[in-house]
Amino acid sequence: MSVTEPAIVLHYRRRADSFLRAAGDLEVLDRVAHAPAIGLLSVHGCIALSDAVLVALQGPRVFEEDHREAARRLRKWCSAKRSEDAAVKHFEWLVGVKNHFSYDECAVKDEDCWAAKVKANQFFAWCLRTFPAVAQMDEARDA
């Protein structure tokens, strides 16, 4: 797989890394206290990584508020390539709980935060292994 628009892909991958690592740092600091932030960073990390992958596959994206469209595009690509798409369901779950972490009146439970982090890690692992060209982009070479 060749990567189109490497600088843009790297930009989104860098952002994805930043969100996921920040979620990890907050988890180490105090998971209960920072549960909504950890959840939201996990969601946005996956959105940024899906952006990186889709730009790599299809070129610059049309900005879409509905991130479920990104999930549909990932599934469509997997279907066309007969590739395993099980982790896309984690992404769909995360997109579905974004407002819960951001706006809901009810509290974010520890198990919600834990689930978001686990699903984000699994989606990241799937993306990076399924699209190694995105994983192996070099900061110095492709920026």
Partner: protein, 158 residues
Amino acid sequence: MRDRLELRAQDPVAQCLIRRLTVPRVYFEAEWPPAAHRVDVLAIDRDGVGDAHLVEIARTALGALRRVPDLLEANAPFRWIAYFRGTEDEASARALTTLEPLYPATSSGRVGVIEIVEMAGENLGANVRVSAERFPVAVYDIATEFSGLHKANIQYGG
């Protein structure tokens, strides 16, 4: 036979790297190719398809510095030594101040340094003292093959 503290330090050292990497696969006492270089901790970034990080752990700073020549010959973009804080003697303290032994003679790159700390409750932690710098080797194919063939001690994928 390895010192028990050195063995116990493998997990905190791995956690230290995990904080800096993205869903890495981590292997303890791994034989990293091509010359079956046995390392205490091997972390392969991005679920086993990214950069390889090799770590050699020793009880003392001097012991860790003695592993540097082997690491300089290794085939991985990132290489680290780890030792217990407070074990520096005069010579190792000087070396860890100048950092001179951590650099290869003829290429870019720097061996990183991780300090292991003994905390309350006999727990161990680890922190980066000197960041590793990238050595000019590309081993993504080796890393991907290794992670496909070996069961990781820590991994995030399903």
